[in-house]
Symmetry: C2
Subunit: 588 residues, 2 copies
């Protein structure tokens, strides 16, 4: 897009993540002169991305426009909104704005990645307004599963855009701080040009219950539990944690906090006053075994069945100091995220085998969502009465459903834009249109701790490796110097690969001879039981090479191609498998 | 277990599959003299088993006792109950008993695997009794999502055991054939020693609605759909298919059947009278485009987002002759099986992008289960009033929940056995106890079409390959013959691997020198961008070899171990990754 199309204060909106998937939330707002970013989230990979640890949005669009960037605005402290902040700040030196708790949580990771020192962190409180060039951002308190969450009203030269962040309308929030409907209603009365709103629960009918609604269920579980009680939730679900701690006090149980992220968040939130904990009742999880079972409540993470979490370790009796036993109760107080059913189910099955009683969202009311359902989303639309609407945060089906809800409350369908990551939305006072695609947007796959970007080709190789394994024919080609003594036996590696005895040198006329051939493989067949198959593959390889002309034998690529083709046909016919075949040609 | 413990007509029960997982259903009943098997099911693998196509139960227990086997009894024609029959019959020559439809469906696969000719298939009808040595088996009709399903009452020397198979109590079945509650009640009145019952939906409260309950919803969708209508379900859901065909007739749409398994089942079931289809209304799916959109209903499979299914191909506009377009409607009338959410979600998102309206079990009443819920399971317990109870078919959590239901209707907890695959349950007139484990039980992982058994080590390799890839250092060791002319340059494969120039031969005193070293990798790093890393790894490899004594250099295993260890430390420190490292040592 040229600057001219952005003349007259018109605004470009570019979702760099979160429209078409859950997580990876990042939205760009841009005028001719200035650019701001709301949220910098990451995403965790699916099972179909082996060896990928994290996914970040591609920020080439930002890097190319770094002179224009006036700030990064954070709506709240969840990783799908702040998890890529360190990644972004290592490449861009721009000011960051967020509430106290949000910045405190973000700081942990910034410190870990060595960018906390240079980060320009600006703490805001709800109702603050920040001037950012052509934009002025007003922060509006909203209720969510983490305290100190905000929506953002962006005043632009052509009108107000409201970006909700994650929200629900909790009428009885645990911390007593309601969503600021007064401000939202005032903005609606003054006129909102565009609303961009959270679609996570657009497919759920009705209203999302209050966070407080789980209190009675958990209270009842406390009453029924005579042995140890384990409560498992996300480390960021601070309202939930507050209720658990209150209930532990009420039922005279000490609170043992297990897990680094949980400990950090409890400590940080307590220090800042977002969590009210009597430290007399907190004990080290290592000391839990010193107390009677009914005197302790263990607070832990691992609600998604993560293999290294405390909960997964306890399920297999592998935890160094926590143990689930007959008569204990485990409450998984979190959403069962699609894709994690199997892992969570495994943990539940193992806990049951140890004799524990298990509660989770499918058999008891031990969890409520932090995101508004259909009626909440309609309320947001009706409070703001925007001219234009665009759903964000969700897979395409959630966005489409949210668009239907917007239509149902009277937004004309031509004023609703269902866009996806990387599209450029062009907003003027009269129009809102998808203008094209930003080619450089996308995802960055990250593997390993020092965050090594993973090329797609490596991921594709991994998927193919995992399907059918790898076969490596190692071929030694001899120059025929007429000196028979030169050709020696191969020191066969009999333990892990099948070695070959050299064939008689029948082809003495040509300059190059196929000598030793080894075939090694991993993830393909069990070598010890497949000698015949491997022998046959070697014979095929040898024949392929013998049939090559002397000129062809001198071309490594030709040898590789011919061998690869022949073996591919052989394995495909014999076993209907297509391993990666990677011939190595050595010349001596 | 020795025969002596099986004296006096006592019975051993050995679940070879289906207790601890969904699928793989196979139960053994054994006396001193005779052995029978109920069901021979398979299971489809999870995403954590890359490259595994099918899972069969391990049948060593049966092979070791083949002289005692009097028959295999099949409860119904679903793959999780009959899918391993060909696998079993290739190893065991025993008679098979099942209803007409069950055997007709099973025959398809037996034919495919070349065992139909020798299979001894015996058709039974509900209420038949078959004598099988110490056992006499009475077949009892039950309602399920496929017609011609039966429970089995086994008369044994010590009393009656009822094995339910899959069932629900459908009060208005589509084919009008009710579950035979009269016979169940009579058995209960006469006295049942043990009940072994389906736990699939034990965690669901209430009663499972009738199959017929979806009719009105689908009828309403027919009324609302002005363009093409796609109905997607399992090829074995014949009651569902009957309703779809009836509705198509009613709404004057032709029925285009897409997919081989669906076509086969529709044909087989029609011929046998289990499906009533007016063939005038059936068209070839290839001809669907010849009719107006509102004149056609397409029946297809692919409800689980299977990548090669018609539905997945249409979602990406890759289907050779079927096309989903703006205004079309797609109904996914099947359970969203846990683990498949992501794949199904992807298909749904793509269909929405093409402008289709989508109905699935989460947003409309377009599916009901074929398995009884809590109240149905209690009814079965109350009809039979067994002395002993054991839940089957389900993960451990489902079995535990079913045991709780049994206790709630008055079965004493000491008479309830929650067992898992491979356990030996010993039943006498007075006791039912887990006696021990059968060591040879387990799962057979199968890869590829000719059903190659996959060793665990190959699967583990595949998982590691998929996590971090493979690195193969290829090391050429030269015997030092003092003949400098022998050492030649390597024909480097510059296109796909990094080659090395040979180092000067500085170590002329010893007998073996590290010559050429190549490092190749797949799924590890993008080689073109990692030259430095690879160079460093080569240097480390060279140094390791130079530091070996001459004796060590002669031991291929020692060279491999040292190189593997050094590179593992290097990659782990540099990248926190642990690829498979597989050194190849060649001697010339």
């Amino acid at each position: 897009m040229t600057n001219s199309t952005l003349a007259n204060g018109n605004v470009s909106i570019i979702p760099l993540g979160g429209l078409g998937e859950f997580g990876l939330n990042m939205m760009v707002y841009e005028t001719e002169n200035d650019l701001i970013v709301i949220d910098t989230g990451f995403m965790l990979p699916n099972a179909d991305m082996p060896g990928v640890d994290l996914i970040f949005p591609d920020i080439h669009y930002l890097i190319e426009r770094k002179e224009k960037i006036r700030g990064i605005l954070l709506t709240h402290g969840h990783e799908d909104h702040i998890g890529a902040l360190a990644y972004v700040l290592r490449q861009l030196d721009v000011p960051v704005y967020g509430t106290q708790l949000t910045l405190a949580i973000a700081s942990g990771r910034l410190r870990e990645y060595g960018v906390l020192g240079k980060a320009q962190l600006n703490t805001i409180v709800p109702s603050d307004t920040v001037e950012l060039g052509d934009f002025s951002a007003e922060f509006i308190h909203v209720t969510h599963s983490i305290p100190d969450s905000v929506a953002i009203a962006l005043r632009t030269p052509i009108g107000v855009i409201v970006h909700t962040g994650d929200f629900k309308f909790d009428m009885t929030p645990v911390d007593g701080k309601l969503s600021d409907v007064q401000t939202l209603a005032r903005l609606g009365a003054e006129g909102v040009l565009m609303l961009i709103s959270d679609s996570t629960n657009a497919e759920r009918p009705g209203q999302t219950p209050s966070e407080r609604s789980i209190y009675d269920t958990i209270d009842h579980i406390f009453q029924r539990t005579e042995q140890k009680l384990f409560l498992c939730t996300f480390s960021s679900s601070l309202h939930r944690i507050q209720q658990f701690i209150d209930l532990a006090n009420r039922h005279r149980r000490l609170v043992a906090v297990s897990g680094r992220s949980l400990l950090n968040n409890v400590r940080t939130a307590s220090e800042l006053g977002y969590l009210h904990v009597n430290s007399d009742y907190l004990i080290d999880a290592r000391d839990a075994a010193m107390f009677k079972p009914h005197e302790v409540m263990v607070l832990s993470t691992g609600s998604q069945g993560e293999p290294r979490s405390a909960m997964a370790l306890m399920a297999l009796d592998n935890h160094p100091f926590l143990k689930v036993e007959q008569g204990d109760t485990v409450v998984i107080s979190a959403r069962i995220i699609p894709g994690n059913e199997k892992a969570i189910g495994n943990v539940v099955n193992h806990l049951l085998r140890r004799g524990a009683r298990i509660y989770h969202e499918r058999n008891a009311d031990v969890h409520v969502s932090g995101h508004g359902s259909s009626e909440d989303l309609k309320l947001m639309l009706n409070l703001l009465q925007p001219k234009f609407f665009m759903p964000m945060h969700g897979e395409y089906q959630n966005l489409v459903r949210h668009a239907e809800l917007a239509e149902s409350v009277g937004i004309p369908s031509q004023n609703i834009t269902v866009a996806e990551d990387g599209e450029l939305i062009h907003l003027t006072p009269e129009t809102c249109e998808v203008f094209g695609r930003e080619g450089r947007s996308g995802r960055v796959l990250v593997d390993g701790k020092p965050e090594i970007e993973l090329e797609d080709i490596v991921l594709r190789d991994r998927i193919q490796l995992s399907e059918d394994g790898i076969v490596i024919p190692v071929i030694v080609l001899h120059s025929d110097t007429g000196d028979g003594s030169q050709q020696k036996d191969i020191g066969a590696d009999e333990t892990s690969a099948t070695a070959d005895t050299p064939t008689a040198d029948t082809d003495a006329k040509t300059g190059l001879n196929a000598g030793e051939i080894e075939i090694i493989s991993r993830g393909f067949v069990y070598m010890d039981k497949s000698e015949e198959l491997i022998e046959e593959a070697k014979e095929i390889t040898r024949r392929v090479i013998e049939n090559l002309s002397d000129e062809q034998k001198h071309e490594t690529e030709v040898v590789q191609d011919e061998v690869r083709g022949a073996l591919r046909r052989f394995f495909s016919k014999q076993m209907q498998r297509t391993p990666i075949i990677f011939p190595v040609v050595m010349r001596v």
